[in-house]
C-alpha cells in the first residue's frame, strides 16, 4: 500500500484537468459531466463496472474521441478538439485494452516506432541510411535497448510480436509507450488476462516507471488489489458518471462505490 502524505499530494501541480466532460454516441451518453484532475507524478486509477465509460474516458483524453462538451486542460493549455497525434506530440502515450501492437514488426521495431516523434532526419537522409540518419538510428537504438533492458525482454527483441505470448506482448506495448518518453501515460487494463506472477511483474514495472522516470500514470484496471496497491488516487465511474474520487482508502469505504459494484439501485 502506497500512502503518500496528503499534503504532498495537494502540493503537486495539476497536469491534466477534466472539467464537465460529456461524450455521446448517437444520442447515448457514454460520459456525462465528469470532472477530475490528474496531478504530476501520481498514479491515478480509473475504475468502474463494465460499460462505465473508462476506455471512452481515455479515448477522450488522448483525442481519439471529441467530447460533446467540457473543457480539457493539459499542461495548462485548454483545448477543445485535438487529433490523436497532437496528444502524442504533447506527451500523452497510451496502451490498449486489447493489445494494439504492430503485429508484423519485431519487438525492437515496435519500440523504435515509439521513438518516431523524437527522430528528425528527413526522407533524403533516410534514403541513404548514412551519416546523420545512421547516427540518429544508433542513438535511438541505444534508448530502445535501455527500455528493453528495463522490461527484461532482451531475448525476444528480434521476434515478430504477433508470435509472442500475451503477457510479453503487453510488456512490449508498455515499452513502446515508454519509448515516447511521455509525461502522461495512459494504461488501459495493463494486467488483463495475466496470471498472478505476470501481474506482479507488471505492477513492478508500472511503479518503476512512475518512480524512475517520474511519469504520471492514469490506468484502468479491474483487479482491485492491484489498484489499491498501485495508485495514489482513484476515480470511480459508473454509467458515465463520476461517483467517487479520492485515495484508495477513501474510495474503498465510499457507499456509492460499494453500491455500484454490488449492483444496488440508487
Amino acid at each position: 500500500m502506497r500512502a503518500p502524505a496528503a499534503g504532498d499530494q495537494a502540493a503537486r501541480e495539476i497536469l491534466l484537468s477534466m472539467e464537465n466532460v460529456s461524450l455521446s454516441f448517437g444520442g447515448v451518453n457514454a460520459i456525462s459531466d465528469v470532472s477530475f484532475d490528474i496531478r504530476k507524478g501520481e498514479i491515478c486509477a480509473i475504475i468502474g463496472p463494465n460499460g462505465a465509460g473508462k476506455t471512452s474516458m481515455l479515448n477522450v483524453i488522448n483525442g481519439f474521441y471529441t467530447p460533446r462538451q467540457g473543457r480539457i486542460t493539459f499542461k495548462g493549455v485548454a483545448r477543445a478538439k485535438m487529433r490523436p497525434y497532437e496528444a502524442a506530440e504533447r506527451g500523452i502515450a497510451r496502451t490498449f485494452q486489447n493489445v494494439a501492437l504492430f503485429r508484423g514488426m519485431s519487438a525492437l521495431d515496435n519500440i523504435m516506432a515509439g521513438r518516431t516523434l523524437k527522430m528528425k532526419r528527413g526522407l533524403l537522409w533516410q534514403m541513404l541510411r548514412y551519416g546523420p540518419a545512421m547516427a540518429e538510428e544508433v542513438e535511438h537504438r541505444r534508448v530502445a535497448e535501455e527500455i528493453i533492458d528495463f522490461l527484461h525482454i532482451k531475448d525476444i527483441r528480434k521476434v515478430q510480436v504477433g508470435r509472442l505470448p500475451y503477457g510479453l506482448q503487453k510488456r512490449v506495448e508498455l515499452g513502446r509507450a515508454l519509448a515516447m518518453e511521455p509525461e502522461l501515460l495512459l494504461l488501459d487494463e495493463p494486467m488483463a488476462g495475466m496470471n498472478l506472477e505476470e501481474k506482479e511483474d507488471m505492477s513492478r514495472f508500472v511503479l518503476d516507471v512512475n518512480q524512475h522516470f517520474g511519469t504520471t500514470i492514469a490506468l484502468i484496471e479491474h483487479d482491485m488489489g492491484v489498484v489499491m496497491d498501485l495508485s495514489d488516487r482513484v476515480v470511480v465511474l459508473d454509467h458515465g458518471v463520476k461517483i467517487a474520487d479520492g485515495t484508495p482508502d477513501e474510495v474503498k469505504s465510499d457507499r456509492n462505490v460499494i453500491d455500484a459494484y454490488l449492483g444496488v439501485a440508487h
Binding site: F25, T55, N59, F64, F96, Q97, A100
Partner: protein, 318 residues
C-alpha cells in the same frame, strides 16, 4: 465564355430541343444501370453474409453464360442446359467454399478479397480452356426471350425500347423481390442475416457457417447466370464483359456494401449518370468518359460519405 456556354447551356438546350433523345438516353442509362445493379447484387449477397468482397462476381457472370451456351452447343435442349448450368453454379459455390473460403476463415477481409482475384484468374483460364476465347451469341430464342424493339413515337421523335431490355427489367425486379422475401421471411434468410451481424452469434445459434457460405455463393451464382443471360442477349457473351463488371464496384460504393436496395438505386444512378454525362458533356473532352465517370463519382462520394447512401455510419473503437 464559349466553354462556359458549352458546359452550362448547350446540353440543356439539346435536352429541350430533342426530348426524345433525352428520354432515350435516360432509358439506355437505366438499362445499363440495371445490369450494373444485377452484378452489384451478386457482390452484396456474398458480402452481406460472409464479409467477403467477391471480385470474381464479374467472371462468374461470364462463366455462367458460357456454360449455358456451351452445354446447349453440345446438343442439350435449352432448358435442360439451364438446369445443368444451375448445377454447375452450385458445384462452383461448393468448391469455392471448400477450397478457398474454408481454409481462409478468420483471415483479414483483405486476404479474402485477394483470394477472389485468384478465383477470377482461375476461372478466366478455365473458361477459355473449356469454351474457347471467342465471343458467343446468347441462345435467346431457345429461352423464349423476346427479340426486336418497340419504337414508340413521342415528343416529336421516337423512343426505341428493346424488348429484351424490358424483359430484363421485369425479370430483375422479380428476382430482387424474391431475394427480399427470401431474406426476410425464410429461416435460412434470417440465418443469413444473423451471420451478417456476427459470425460468432450465428455459430452460437447452431447455424453452420459452411452451409451458409455455399448458399450465398450459389445465390450469387444464380444472380450471375441471370445477369449473363440478359447481358449476353444485349450484346454477346465474351470475356470482355469481365471488365464491364468492374463498374459494379462504384455502384457498391454509392449503394453501400450490404444494402440490396442500395445496389439497385446505386446501379441506376451510375447508369443514368454516365450516359447523360457522356452524351451531353462527353464530347467536350473527346468522349469516352464513361470508362471512368462511375469511378470518379465513387471517389468523390467516398470522400464525403464513405458508408454509401444506405450504409450505416461506422464508429471506430479501440
Amino acid at each position: 465564355m464559349d466553354l462556359l456556354y458549352k458546359i452550362f447551356l448547350e446540353p440543356f438546350v439539346q435536352m429541350g430541343t430533342a426530348p426524345d433523345l433525352l428520354v432515350q438516353t435516360l432509358w439506355e442509362g437505366m438499362v445499363g444501370g440495371m445490369l450494373y445493379a444485377l452484378i452489384a447484387l451478386g457482390f452484396v449477397l456474398i458480402f452481406k453474409a460472409s464479409g467477403v468482397f467477391n471480385f470474381a462476381q464479374g467472371i462468374m457472370v461470364v462463366f455462367a453464360a458460357l456454360t449455358l451456351i456451351g452445354l446447349h452447343a453440345q446438343g442439350i435442349p435449352a432448358f435442360v442446359a439451364l438446369a445443368l448450368t444451375i448445377a454447375v453454379m452450385f458445384a462452383l459455390a461448393w468448391s469455392v467454399e471448400r477450397i478457398v473460403l474454408r481454409p481462409l476463415v478468420n483471415q483479414p477481409d483483405i486476404i479474402l478479397f485477394m483470394a477472389t482475384f485468384g478465383i477470377t484468374y482461375f476461372l478466366i483460364g478455365f473458361g477459355e480452356l473449356v469454351f474457347g476465347g471467342d465471343p458467343k451469341t446468347m441462345i435467346t430464342e431457345e429461352l423464349f426471350l423476346p427479340k426486336g424493339s418497340w419504337d414508340i413515337k413521342m415528343l416529336g421523335g421516337f423512343v426505341s425500347l428493346q424488348k429484351i431490355d424490358v424483359a430484363a427489367a421485369i425479370i430483375a425486379s422479380i428476382m430482387v423481390a424474391v431475394l427480399s422475401v427470401f431474406f426476410s421471411k425464410t429461416r435460412i434468410g434470417r440465418a443469413l442475416r444473423a451471420v451478417a451481424d456476427s459470425h460468432k452469434a450465428a455459430l452460437s445459434v447452431g447455424i453452420s457457417l459452411e452451409q451458409i457460405w455455399v448458399i450465398v455463393w450459389f445465390a450469387a451464382g444464380l444472380v450471375a447466370l441471370v445477369t449473363g443471360i440478359m447481358w449476353g442477349a444485349r450484346s454477346n457473351v465474351s470475356f470482355a464483359l469481365e471488365i464491364i463488371a468492374l463498374k459494379a464496384l462504384p455502384v457498391l460504393i454509392l449503394g453501400g456494401f450490404t444494402s440490396i436496395p442500395g445496389a439497385i438505386v446505386g446501379g441506376l444512378i451510375i447508369g443514368v449518370g454516365e450516359k447523360l454525362g457522356e452524351f451531353y458533356w462527353g464530347p467536350l473532352v473527346g468522349g469516352g468518359t464513361d470508362s471512368w465517370f462511375a469511378f470518379v463519382i465513387a471517389l468523390i462520394f467516398l470522400m464525403f460519405r464513405p458508408q454509401g447512401l444506405f450504409g450505416e455510419k461506422i464508429i471506430e473503437r479501440v
